[in-house]
């Protein structure tokens, strides 16, 4: 129980930190009154602008504004979108299904590609397939998603014209953003699977299994892979949070109608309450998934629970 409380408190600290950053954004980008009003100030007198400042509460000390922000946020009230004329929280939740769909595709893609590739690399280390997989993994981990996305668009969208470049609607629309989003997890999981398997392949129980005449396939899949899965499962779990949060760039590049694109659009249109709601929601998802993984892990491995 102490472990659970400790992890819960740690997650709350993370969310608290994010809330400070999200709140601070409103001020880091300039005078919030001017930023929100934008060109409308051309039509307003100085006193009207001041009136708006008071109405919005921007004339109050920052800590009072922050306390009010947190107080409202815990009740799900992140303010009202100036642009969409609906609660900021609702603007974000409306877009969440599209983000979850894309993240799920990327998640499945990462599993389907990375684990078999990692297993094959581990079975035949330093052979051509392993070398190719190593290069692919290195590329996947080092190529930034915005660059990979543009490259895919150039090749499959502009040059070959095989896939739609942006938007959603058909299964083809998932291909390029899915690959872009999955590239990093594929690379990481592939390397993790390979190293974890190579590690277990040296263990005594594997040698014993082989000595007992068990088939190589059974040794690899039933003994080595099964035992290697522990760190992989942890990593994969954490990836869900990464995929949901990391979709901001991918969604923007591919015009995917999800939370990430909404946040970027809200930044562009100075719709700060939506930005705050989106950032905090993504932080909550990330912290929530992390917490869940930690708790699950502690159930599987009691050493963690007891602080060993």
């Amino acid at each position: 129980m102490r472990y659970i409380i400790r992890r819960l408190l740690q997650s709350l600290i993370v969310v608290f930190g994010v809330s400070i950053v999200a709140f601070g954004m409103l001020f880091m980008t300039g005078d919030p009154t001017e930023v929100i009003l934008g060109d409308a100030t051309d039509r307003m007198t100085v006193s009207q602008i001041e009136e708006f400042r008071v109405k919005m509460g921007f004339d109050r000390p920052w800590y009072v504004q922050y306390a009010s922000f947190v107080g409202n946020a815990v009740q799900g009230d992140f303010g009202y979108s100036f642009i969409r004329h609906q609660p900021a929280f609702e603007v974000i939740t409306d877009k969440l299904p599209a983000t979850i769909k894309l993240a799920s595709v990327a998640f499945i893609l990462s599993l389907v590609i990375s684990i078999p590739l990692g297993v094959m690399s581990a079975i035949r280390p330093h052979r051509p397939l392993d070398n190719i997989a190593t290069v692919v993994a290195l590329a996947g981990q080092s190529i930034p998603s915005f660059w990979l996305g543009i490259l895919l668009i150039m090749f499959f969208g502009v040059y070959l014209k095989w896939l739609p470049i942006s938007g959603s609607g058909s299964w083809q629309h998932y291909v390029m953003p899915g690959i872009t989003l999955a590239a990093f997890p594929i690379a990481r999981n592939m390397r993790l699977t390979r190293s974890s398997m190579l590690d277990f392949m040296q263990k005594d129980f594997v040698r014993t299994a082989r000595a007992k005449g068990i088939s190589e396939n059974r040794v690899v899949y039933a003994h080595v892979l099964r035992n290697s899965l522990m760190p992989i499962v942890t990593s994969i779990g954490l990836e869900l949070g990464f995929l949901l949060g990391g979709s901001v760039i991918t969604e923007t590049i591919f015009g995917w109608p999800g939370v990430g694109r909404e946040i970027v659009a809200a930044i562009g249109s100075k719709d700060f309450y939506v930005v705050q709601a989106g950032v905090i929601m993504l932080a909550l998802i990330f912290a929530g998934v992390n917490l869940l993984i930690d708790l699950t892990y502690s159930l599987i491995d009691p050493r963690i629970r007891f602080g060993a």
């Binding site: 880091m28 980008t29 300039g30 005078d31 009154t33 001017e34 930023v35 009003l37 060109d39 409308a40 100030t41 051309d42 039509r43 307003m44 007198t45 100085v46 006193s47 009207q48 602008i49 642009i83 969409r84 004329h85 877009k95 599209a98 543009i150 668009i153 150039m154 969208g157 502009v158 070959l160 014209k161 095989w162 896939l163 739609p164 470049i165 942006s166 938007g167 959603s168 609607g169 058909s170 299964w171 083809q172 629309h173 291909v175 923007t252 590049i253 591919f254 015009g255 995917w256 109608p257 694109r261 970027v264 659009a265 562009g268 249109s269």
Partner: protein, 522 residues
């Protein structure tokens, strides 16, 4: 790869599979015209958005609107007559219908203007701008095709204030019988395009309305799709899967043209200038110093060398059609600049920097970086130009774009002596002149001039159109002479257009589909 044929065959097979399973792309010949917007629409209810004017005025129609030249023309209205300064009679064109068949008549106009008032009073919708411009009390039905608009203040440019999309006429039955949440994305209007469907990510599908007041628009089917990333929009145009985008970066113009698309470079209404802050450095209160600063800068050369000749030097404070076209920008004349400075008492010191009563003519210049085309580089050239006539830029500071808005607050209270800035498109003489009006929030120079204030007040009360235009011209000429800013140029707009689309750019940068799409050749 041991067998290169195997690789090629695999790639081909993958491609064929993708195409076969999904049916591939529709061919260009069967495709509707695709217009790429940078954001999804906020609402298609004209009273709930200012951000979607392009689609709103493609689906809806106002009583008066701006044509492609920027002139105010009668749209659903047939004529307007002033009864007295507070009462106007508007005749509606006969025989017109909304896209659902409801008649366009006095009832529709009264319903629309009442709805706007009611929403605004309830703090709903996005009507601050429109109702801030058109200050009416109410609208009354006179007969089936005539209404009376009762104003709260006299307004000599009432028709200019009726062009705002928020005041598009709405069919009363449809908008009364359906809740706001439904009509927000299932609009019915009187514009050139009928709403067919909308889904985020897939786009807004529109079809030409055959009973539109000027006849069916030349392009039948249009999809407005949101693609936030400019590089992706350019890729769509290059791939031929989209036909139109606004805001092609100048450095990608050639790239797009090489791919077979057209790039239309059209002048815009956005004016760029360097704001001269009053109240900090007393030297800048002297009109001769400000005029000298204008004469010292070679705008034409900057436009040619740094902007590839795509910007137009101007001294325009007011947009067409109210602009005084006879006004000429300050000529590049360093000799004249030096004369003016000497006449103002600023004499060159040993290092070339002018001084007066022991005080050096030394200014601070803040520039944005990337807010406008080549802004940082242009600021450097301007600083050098002023140095040549004896004005020192002690500190040329490049500030982050996000900080510039903070500095602009409270009439430019955060500015130092000089700052590059811009003024957006307006459609009225008054709206444009607000840049230098005493109480206006957009007067970031804090420039206050009693003579100008009197001129501004007087022409705001003038109803005689001939006199009014002359007064607007006089105000422009006076401000040009007083040089509260260093005038630079109007920034061009770059449109990426597919080869098959015939497009007419507007100076206000708007993409009203029924007006700008002139045809498509498949």
């Amino acid at each position: 790869m041991k067998n290169p044929h195997l690789f090629r065959a695999s790639v081909l097979a993958l491609g064929l599979t993708v195409s076969a399973l999904g049916g591939g792309h529709a061919t260009a010949a069967s495709r509707p015209v695709v217009f790429l917007n940078s954001a999804e629409p906020v609402s298609l209810d004209p009273m709930f958005t200012q951000a979607d004017a392009n689609v709103i005025l493609s689906i809806h129609e106002t009583l008066f609107r701006l044509d492609n030249k920027g002139d105010v023309v009668a749209a659903l209205a047939e004529s307007i007559k002033m009864i007295d300064p507070l009462n106007w009679e508007i005749k509606i064109r006969p025989g017109l219908v909304f896209q659902n068949g409801e008649p366009i008549n006095a009832d529709a106009a009264v319903f629309t203007f009442d709805r706007a008032k009611t929403l605004f009073a309830a703090g709903k919708g996005d009507l601050t701008f429109a109702l801030g411009a058109l200050k009416y009390d109410h609208m009354e039905k006179v007969d089936d095709l005539t209404v009376k608009l009762v104003m709260t203040v006299p307004d000599p440019i009432i028709t200019s204030h009726m062009v705002n999309p928020e005041l598009s006429l709405l069919p009363p039955k449809y908008y009364t019988q359906n809740p706001p949440e439904k009509v927000a994305f299932a609009p019915v209007g009187a514009g050139g395009y009928k709403f067919v469907s909308y889904k985020p990510g897939e786009g807004l599908v529109l079809k030409a309305f055959d009973k539109y007041r000027t006849g069916k628009p030349p392009v039948d089917d249009v999809i407005v799709k949101a693609v936030p990333e400019v590089a992706t929009r350019i890729s769509e145009i290059k791939a031929g899967s989209a036909d139109l985008m606004v805001g092609v970066p100048a450095d990608l113009k050639q790239d797009l043209e090489n791919a077979g698309a057209k790039v239309i470079v059209a002048p815009s209404y956005r004016r760029l200038f360097v704001a001269i802050k009053q109240g900090r450095n007393p030297a800048l209160a002297d009109v001769r110093v400000r005029q000298a600063m204008n004469h010292a800068v070679n705008c034409e050369e900057i436009a040619q060398v740094l902007l590839g000749g795509m910007a137009k030097c101007s001294i325009d404070l007011v947009n067409a059609p109210n602009q005084d076209a006879s006004l000429k920008p300050y000529a590049f004349d360093p000799g004249k600049a030096k004369e003016l400075l000497t006449a103002a008492g600023w004499v060159p010191g040993a290092d070339g920097v002018r001084a007066k009563d022991g005080v050096r003519l030394s200014l601070n210049f803040d520039t944005t970086n990337g807010s406008y085309l080549m802004d940082k580089e242009i600021a450097q050239v301007m600083a050098d130009s002023w140095k040549d006539v004896g004005i020192e830029i002690a500190d040329l500071r490049v500030i982050d774009n996000s900080v510039s808005s903070q500095m602009r607050a409270k009439q430019g209270a955060g500015y130092r002596d000089l700052m590059n800035s811009s003024s957006g498109p307006d459609y009225t003489c008054q709206g444009d002149l607000l840049l230098v009006q005493k109480a206006s929030g957009s007067n970031r120079m804090s420039w206050v001039d009693d003579k100008f204030e009197q001129m501004f007040k007087a022409f705001n009360q003038e109803f005689d159109q001939t006199k009014w235009k002359a007064m607007c011209d006089a105000a422009q000429a006076y401000v040009a002479e007083q040089a509260p800013v260093v005038w630079m140029f109007t920034e061009p707009t770059f449109y990426g257009v597919s080869k098959r689309l015939d497009y007419e750019a507007r100076p206000d940068g708007r993409v009203y589909l029924n007006l700008v799409l002139k045809g498509v050749k498949d």
